[in-house]
């Protein structure tokens, strides 16, 4: 049964969103920008936006997260945000010296209609490079006395510094669109064809809103296949960083600007998140880099599809290690099956995650029964319909739903397992269903950034995790199972 928000009588409510299951666009923009080495995100809006989002990101990743704000306030709202944006750009350029600034809009600045591109252009044009490489004259409201001059030269000259406007109105779409638009904006602004038929021998991978550990798994797979790659974007180190005694105010690792520039010369782009393939399509349309939008490679079939697409595109042989990992995943699924089969599962989160995970639990013999995503996506509904056709399952699909809808639909069924972020814990507790925490945010456990789901190897750990949750909750017979 497909239930789209506000379109179906089955739902209790038609207007209210209760306990939302999606973020706003700027959050997706941050998730993308935090994988770009040296990038500073700047939210053009009220400072609450960046603070709330930093809060969510900090408590999930347990990392310092830096997001600048133009700190719009009553006075400035009336006159438009130009002065604030100019000043913010100046402050960031002088103080933080990033390699790129990603400027995202917000509901506030979209509503007042700021033309960010124009303001950025103005900033660059009216920017006067004084003797010490700082910009000082753009913002008329600031006086700079001589004593405040500094001789440090920013690593990137402000002339050359990419300052990329990204339109992310919070009142449309969700963080998924925000992520998509950001990837697109990055390649649009930076990618360059270096020669007519140039081929850098690499594959571009658009990751989607996955965990750093997922990026690491994909990079490991690419490494074992000896496949050159450009990851869009690579959060694997920036959002799972070691303690070193130092702190960085933007990703000190991640996708380099040169890599993004080079993405136009790749042999193809694989988007592991169908909802984030706009960048890939742009590269295809503008530079002829073929684009492949795949299901999130969770579990056997979807990973097979990724590996198949990748090896075909890049003309690679699969590796022995990958084959072994695949065999171990099969082994785990087989051994786990008697615990798992027929278990009804509810999954909520981003559309590609939910679709991928639904396919995976089907492979385990479970029954995906309630699928909820906050995003109202036809593509998602198609994916689920296609999966239904193959697996014969008929889940209740909430596209554009919220956690309240999820809860209402769970009350109706005999759900035995819940998969999603920490916000579902209240549903889980009330219905006494175990919750496997996957997705974003996970704020009530440690190490969310270290839990991967993509690829065969992560799939095996996921089998162990899901099965052990089932055993813990439904099988414990004096702690003994299957003692012959």
């Amino acid at each position: 049964m497909i239930k789209e928000n506000q379109e179906v009588d089955g739902l209790h409510k038609n207007f209210a969103v209760i306990n939302p299951c999606r973020f706003c666009q700027p959050m997706g923009a941050l998730q993308a920008l935090l994988g770009v080495k040296g990038a500073m995100p700047l939210i053009h809006g009220s400072q609450g936006c960046s603070t709330y989002m930093r809060f969510q990101l900090c408590r999930h990743y347990r990392e310092p997260i830096n997001v600048a704000s133009t700190s719009m306030s009553e006075g400035t709202v009336v006159y438009g945000g130009e002065a604030n944006l100019l000043k913010a750009l100046k402050t960031i350029c002088n103080e933080y010296e990033p390699s790129l600034i990603g400027v995202t809009s917000s509901c506030l600045t979209e509503t007042i209609g700021d033309d960010m591109s124009a303001i950025i252009k103005k900033f660059k044009e009216s920017y006067i490079e004084n003797s010490d490489g700082k910009c000082i004259d753009v913002c008329a409201d600031v006086e700079v006395s001589g004593e405040d001059a500094d001789n440090t030269i920013p690593e990137v000259s402000i002339h050359d510094l990419p300052i990329i406007p990204i339109s992310t109105p919070s009142y449309a779409g969700s963080h998924v669109e925000g992520y998509d638009r950001t990837i697109k904006a990055l390649v649009e602004a930076l990618a360059q064809k270096f020669s007519e038929n140039g081929d850098n021998g690499k594959v571009n991978i658009v990751m989607g809103t996955v965990s750093p550990a997922d990026v690491e798994e994909i990079k490991d797979i690419l490494e074992t296949l000896k496949c050159g790659n450009i990851i869009l974007t690579d959060t694997s180190e920036s959002l799972n960083a070691p303690s070193t005694g130092d702190v960085s105010f933007f990703p000190c690792e991640g996708t380099g600007l040169d890599e993004i520039r080079d993405s136009a010369n790749s042999r193809g782009t694989i988007s592991l998140c169908k909802h984030a393939d706009s960048g890939a399509l742009l590269l295809e349309n503008r530079y002829g880099v073929p684009s492949f939008s795949l299901p999130m490679p969770v579990g056997l079939k979807n990973t097979d599809e990724f590996i198949g697409c990748l090896t075909t595109l890049m003309e690679l042989e699969t590796s022995k290690k990958l084959e072994r990992d695949r065999g171990i995943l099969i082994d785990a699924i087989v051994d786990a099956h008697s615990y798992n089969y027929g278990r009804k599962v509810a999954i909520y989160g981003d559309p590609d995650f939910v679709a991928g995970m639904a396919q995976f639990v089907s492979e385990l013999g479970m029954i995906p029964s309630v699928l909820c995503t906050g995003v109202s996506s036809q593509r998602f509904i198609e994916d689920i319909k296609c999966m239904n056709h193959e697996t014969g399952s008929e889940p209740t699909v909430l596209a554009g739903g919220d956690l309240y809808d999820l809860h209402e639909n769970i009350k109706e069924g005999d759900i035995e397992l819940l998969i999603g972020n920490s916000y579902g814990v209240r549903v889980a507790k009330e219905e006494n269903i175990p919750l496997v925490r996957l997705g974003f945010p996970i704020y009530d456990r440690l190490g969310a950034q270290r839990v991967p789901v993509l690829g065969y190897r992560a799939g095996t750990h996921l089998v162990d995790l899901l099965t052990n949750t089932i055993i813990e909750n439904y099988y414990d017979f004096e702690g003994e199972i299957n003692v012959p």
Partner: protein, 487 residues
């Protein structure tokens, strides 16, 4: 020159006036500039006015449904906010049917592009009606403006008024869009006035006693309120209304009937105490229950007001007996450790003296993100000469403070915590807590234990890879071998 420009701020000299180094010779009015707009592009830790209303004040009330009039983002961000648990106990002795209702649900109007163009009042109306239907147990509905709504100009008060009548329960609109004011403090102000204007005096308590107080500005973080309540219970003082930890909608409505208001968080809630005093003549007293000395002093003051001095002494004595020997142990261990306190507002002047007096620590810096002049004056009063007091720090300043002054501990919020951790400095959460409650006598012991554990975390001695070869393992091992072989 009591003001100091951080090295990292050379290009934003306007930050200088926000950073003050205490000098006992300075006149009282020398404090950091505060409560002004953040420099755009500075990595501020401040939040917005909506957070100040819902996240701080109204979200703690147990029996109210909250409708955020916003695009989906603000609704999400306002969901499951501060860690203020609520009991299910209602003033009439009944039980509210849903546990921690205040944390469990948030409702949003899910504004979209067409609402921005055509206005969102109809949607707000429908959402509130649905909320009333879905949550019939809610005793009131509070609804919140946000940035978008502030710009498109929806008349939320009109909707609230109309629906109050239609639904037969209070619907209250809070008009503090995110962009109002320089910090979340603006939201506190709006919340105080809105609650006072709309609710206080509209209901009468079921009964009154001569020992009824309003406990104002206590939000029950990690159960702080319940600690204070246990003292008051023993003293025979009744909390008629709590503003707003573990409170009910009705309690707010009958705040005018208390004999005395006690203001705990004086940044976020003195407003309403003032208003109640002005309109209803209920006097108020500013109180501080953090740290054993302040807690004792203030319990005595409250006791004195009600002629319950003896009972106050009893409470103090019994608690001190428990915690004193332990505090002495920890003081020995924490003596001389340097601490930087960075809280939202008043905890910055609640904590420095207790940390110094009870634990022998040295407060090297205090910073806040939304304190006003009066708060900074109190901070200044309570710190030693040389302490850096700074307003609305940005991330580079935080790095500089840590690198230059090498605190052994930071007290702050979660956004700052991991910065400190990355730099090898332990950080204790002070908005919500690690292992709270932190208020009162036993709460201070909790804090002390958390501090001790954080400072003495064994991993601090293992940051560097060390391997003792003791004169070369290979050699040593080979000698042994030869000996053995020789046997």
């Amino acid at each position: 020159m009591p003001y100091k420009l951080f090295d990292v701020d050379k290009d934003i000299p306007e930050r200088k006036k926000h950073t003050y180094v205490k000098d006992n010779a300075d006149p009282t009015e020398d404090i950091p500039a505060c409560n002004t707009k953040t420099v755009p592009g500075c990595m501020t830790e401040r939040g917005c006015a909506f957070a100040g209303v819902k996240g701080v004040i109204t979200g703690a009330i147990k029996d109210v449904a909250h409708v955020v009039h916003s695009p989906v983002g603000c609704t999400f961000y306002g969901y499951g906010s501060k860690r203020y648990p609520t009991s299910q106990d209602m003033p009439d002795g009944s039980k509210f049917p849903i546990e921690n209702f205040n944390l469990k649900y948030i409702v949003g109007t899910n504004l979209t592009e067409s609402d921005v163009v055509f206005g969102g009042m109809k949607k707000l109306r429908q959402t509130i009606l649905e909320t009333a239907k879905e949550f019939p147990e809610a005793n009131a509905i509070y609804t919140y403006s946000t940035c978008t709504v502030g710009l498109i100009g929806d008349d939320m008060d009109a909707v609230a008024k109309e629906l109050s009548e239609e639904l037969g329960k209070d619907v209250v609109a809070f008009n503090a869009p995110g962009f109002s004011g320089p910090t979340q403090s603006k939201g506190h102000h709006v919340a105080n006035h809105t609650l006072f204007d709309n609710l206080v005096g509209t209901r009468e308590p079921l009964e009154t006693t001569p020992y009824d107080v309003n406990l104002i500005g206590e939000y029950n973080i990690d159960g702080d309120l319940w600690v204070i309540k246990s003292y008051f219970d023993e003293m025979g003082i009744r909390i008629l209304s709590s503003f707003s930890g573990d409170s009910t909608h009705d309690e707010i409505c009958w705040m005018h009937r208390a004999k005395l208001s006690l203001v705990r968080c004086q940044r976020s809630a003195t407003y309403i105490a003032d208003l109640i005093e002005q309109k209803y003549g209920v006097p108020y007293m500013k109180v501080d229950f953090f740290g054993p000395r302040y807690c004792a002093e203030n319990l005595r003051a409250v006791g004195k007001y009600f002629g319950l001095e003896d009972k106050a002494e009893k409470v103090i004595e019994s608690r001190m007996k428990d915690i004193k020997p332990q505090l002495e142990f920890y003081k020995e261990k924490l003596k001389g450790k340097k601490v930087w306190v960075f809280s939202g507002g008043p905890k910055n002047w609640h904590f420095p003296r207790p940390l110094e007096e009870e634990l022998g620590m040295e407060v090297i810096a205090v910073s806040t993100m939304f304190e006003h002049e009066d708060g900074y004056e109190k901070i200044k009063e309570r710190v030693d000469e040389g302490t850096i007091i700074f307003d609305d720090p940005n991330s580079l300043e935080m790095e500089e403070i840590i690198e230059k002054y090498k605190p052994d501990l930071m007290l702050s919020g979660i956004k700052e915590k991991y910065l400190a951790h990355k730099m090898g400095v332990p950080c204790i959460l002070i908005h919500s807590y690690e292992n709270g409650p932190y208020i009162g006598f036993e709460g201070f012991l909790n804090l002390t234990k958390d501090i001790y554990a954080a400072v003495y975390n064994p991993v601090w001695n293992m940051l560097e890879f060390e391997y003792e070869t003791e004169g070369g393992i290979e050699e040593m091992s080979m000698e042994e071998t030869e000996e053995e072989v020789a046997k």
